[in-house]
Amino acid sequence: MTPSALDHPLVHDYLRRLEHAIAQMPADERNELRENITMHLREELAAASTDAQVRNTLATLGDPYDIVGAQPATDGHRGRGAHEVIAVVLLLIGAFIVPVVGWIVGVVLLWSSKAWTRGQKLLGTFVFPGGLGAVLFLWLIPVSLLTQVCTEVSNGQVSPAQVCESSGPPPWLVIPLAVIVALGPIVVAVYLLRAAGSPEGHGAEIATPATDQAGRR
């Protein structure tokens, strides 16, 4: 199996630096630039490359921060700011704070943010509308089905030793299902937070580039 042109450690470093540089851009622009740079590297480094060739390629390609600086000013760019964090929190537990409305506000914030693609926004909206609030509500239904059946039996004239007749799904099925259903919104919430990009003002945190090929900065 031929090694991928992008497997070189210097390329990895470059791409990581690129990710930080593009974190503040709107999601669609971010994806487009990442795709273009990756294709460029694949094209240029297709033949087996020496270290020197890789270094040279990355130097002529240019420092990611310079490339991103070339991005013409667009209408708002952000990484993961307060807007995004609040959106995710409300999506998850907004229904507990203010029933229904809390979650709806989360959805509004989700869709008005520039940090996510449309696909990500759809995911955030439809993996359990209502967030954990709805999940809790859903939990109550099978639980009440189970207990209801039991008490009815013992209220009757039948002996108390009667086994609970579950007309609903069995507990060993319901409980794992309930856990999975609850995990859905939580997993999506974590995914959205990470997909939103680096926190705003992240630029200064980048470690001094050992990979700065042109020796700038």
Binding site: L33, H40, R42, G62, I67, Q71
Partner: protein, 109 residues
């Protein structure tokens, strides 16, 4: 006051447009062509944000073309809107350039 870098970038967008006006080209090719003509002006990578902007403005459109020697390539083609923009810029640039040269050479009347 606009820095030389900002001036360069405004103009380079039209240079990129000029490169695809003659024939459809793919990103890598455009990057190489531009830096061959103006190596000190920009690093190759800065072509890509310019191409994105041109695409968003409707001056170019992209199509994917299968390539025998690897993954599909994204080709850029100039649109009618792009041609008009390029024509306008070419005209403006000529008179602007002449005016600036005149002033820089101190030959103001």
């Amino acid at each position: 006051m606009a820095t030389p870098t900002q001036l360069r970038r405004g103009v380079l967008e039209f240079c990129v447009l000029a490169l695809v006006a003659k024939e459809d080209r793919y990103g890598f090719d455009i990057a190489k062509a531009l830096s061959a003509v103006a190596p000190i002006a920009i690093s190759e990578g800065t072509v890509y944000p310019l191409l994105s902007r041109l695409r968003k403005d409707g001056a170019v459109e992209t199509t994917w073309v299968e390539s025998e020697s690897g993954p599909p390539r994204k080709y850029y083609a100039i649109t009618a809107k792009g041609r008009r923009a390029l024509a306008d810029f070419t005209e403006e640039w000529a008179s602007f350039r002449d005016a600036v040269d005149t002033l820089l050479q101190g030959e103001t009347p």
